[in-house]
Symmetry: C2
Subunit: 358 residues, 2 copies
């Protein structure tokens, strides 16, 4: 999202202060509030606005409604030296995510790989947060999650998979981690709403109407197409399926197709979302292979490639780290809708209003 | 590929007989010949003709030229309980692939997960073969591989990644495995050649000319676009990058960008291809979770979804298993080019000619 014309900006510590206080007032324990805040601020700093601060009001509603437990009893069982299962106790997906990846990383440190399936969880924000947590420990990280259905199968006419993201991160010598965080649809659902609000046509091959026919008119959209569109959507749908199998089949949870909708109206019933996390220790494969240095060389090669029509070629994560540096310096912007929502949260929860930067 | 109008068909055992004999005459040891034959016949039975029997003449040339060693000294080192490295000794990628996945599966049986990086390897055919080998042992399997560059980066104008496939397979109660095997470009390179040969336009957003501009004219094509095309190719390129990092960065091999071309003309220098294999034990996560049964239920749900315009919705692998059943019953077809190539192999290697079914 462009930061232009958004003159309400907050410093990240101030945003954290507000989130921690709001979540505590709504019933979250310290660990839950810290995990949610960490994930939302991480996403907002990187410019992943669809999964950043705008979600706080939603999470407060989920807490207040009882869908999400603010003081969950999360239970981790290490099943074998490289695997485990985390029962997230219907708590926040962010706490489940950081906890599960932490266990995966500990196992990877010990035996080279750690894999954790998570059940009885909830929305965890941006998948990239958890892959990144592994990379920040020097590991390769993979994080995936299912959701309620928004996306058609290839040649299907009814939503079946969620936008089922794949996040992959790895450590780079002397730089920020490699970070891929992508939905297996071409666009996220809220892009349809954004385009509708400004009367703009969607790109071709990204969305469909109620009969499954491609449409570019936001008001007609009933579902997203999988990445690849009408011709090659079997690939996006297949990747969404891989995510589904790892997230829900492996954790024994309901498939996304059967999940209650994230948006409600039921905000009382736990949804039983599943996730999957994998951590790999990069020095546990080829001997004498300085992985972070080799990855840096690969990225140097990649960024030196010529672009079409003079465009600059970027690596996964480059956009995010550039945005993070800018927002750390200039503040994180809130659009007018978020300003209103945060003022309402301050009022209803009795939290000191968010203070903008001068 | 449609099997229509291809009246030269062979029984799979006859095809194996020919491949084993041809590879042995060209210098392959028994293990190498069996692995290559197993992978090619698996792909041809499933209808993955781009990676099936048509590759045999290429592999014979690679053996005779010295690029691939027919009697490689492959060395596996288990580095940690869940990880290992296979030095493939410049042998066939198929032997490396089956060997590495076998080690990964053994580790998964013991500690829940096994991950193996492979270096000093060569082209391994269809990635799905190795994911499938894990699923046939009751495990979830992932196999990826880099290649020499054919595919643009997002907004790039020069090929950088190979078609870098992702294969994922898992066991299904009472049925054939779940099998996703996809390139991270929309189409394979030989599709461009096929369309050119019959004077057909390519689909939109799958290929580009030498300046990186999208073209649908096969004769103008200099590169493939990553899955997602001009607008969303950052996703396909990001997935291709994930494959690259796991295949070459992790194994300490050259990145695909720097690999010698598969097609030659140099058929003497080993290429140093890298692969990565992962096996997960599905009963080592949630307790009491009958994964193959849950996966069957998911696939039942998936196949029951309504299709657009009356189309039937299929799961990953459905097309392949249908084709396999047909070809097991009716034989594997050879088009005229392959008939000529196989006759030439029989002549030059002194192998009894391939006998068609009546």
């Amino acid at each position: 999202m462009s930061d232009a014309c958004q003159d309400f900006r907050v410093e990240r510590r101030e945003l954290e202060r507000f989130m921690l206080a709001a979540l505590a007032r709504a019933g979250a324990d310290a660990a839950s509030a810290e995990a949610v805040s960490r994930a939302l601020v991480t996403a907002s700093r990187m410019g992943t606005d669809s999964h950043g601060l705008r979600l706080l009001p939603h999470y407060v509603r989920a807490l207040q409604g009882g869908r999400v437990r603010g003081a969950p009893r999360m239970r981790f069982e290490r099943r074998l030296p490289a695997t485990g299962y985390l029962d997230a106790g219907d708590g926040f997906g962010h706490l489940a995510g950081y906890t599960a990846m932490d266990h995966a990383a500990t196992m990877a440190d010990e035996v080279g790989v750690g894999a954790v399936a998570v059940g009885h969880s909830s929305h965890f924000g941006a998948a990239g947060c958890y892959a990144l947590a592994a990379a920040q420990r020097g590991l390769i990280g993979l994080a995936v999650c299912n959701s309620d259905p928004f996306v058609l199968l290839h040649r299907g006419s009814r939503p079946f998979h969620g936008t089922n993201p794949i996040a992959f991160a790895a450590p780079v010598a002397g730089g920020s981690p490699y970070l891929l965080d992508m939905a297996t649809s071409s666009i996220p659902w809220n892009r349809v709403q954004q385009y509708g609000a400004i009367g703009r046509e969607l790109p071709d091959q990204v969305a469909a109407d109620a009969e499954g026919e491609v449409t570019r008119t936001p008001a007609e959209v009933a579902a997203l197409l999988p990445l690849g569109g009408s011709d090659f959507g079997f690939k996006g749908a297949g990747l969404g399926g891989m995510v589904e199998v790892l997230s829900s089949t492996l954790s024994g949870m309901l498939h996304g197709f059967r999940l209650l909708p994230m948006g409600g109206p039921d905000m009382t019933t736990p949804r039983g979302v599943g996730h999957f996390f994998l951590a790999l220790r990069p020095d546990a494969f080829a001997t004498g292979n300085p992985f972070p240095e080799c990855l840096r060389q690969y990225l140097d090669d990649l960024r030196a490639q010529p672009g079409r029509d003079g465009a600059r070629v970027m690596a996964p994560g480059d956009r995010e780290w550039t945005c993070q540096a800018r927002r750390d310096a200039e503040g994180i912007p809130l659009d007018s809708a978020n300003q209103v929502a945060y003022a309402e949260l301050a009022e209803s929860l009795g939290v000191r209003a968010l203070q903008p930067l001068d």
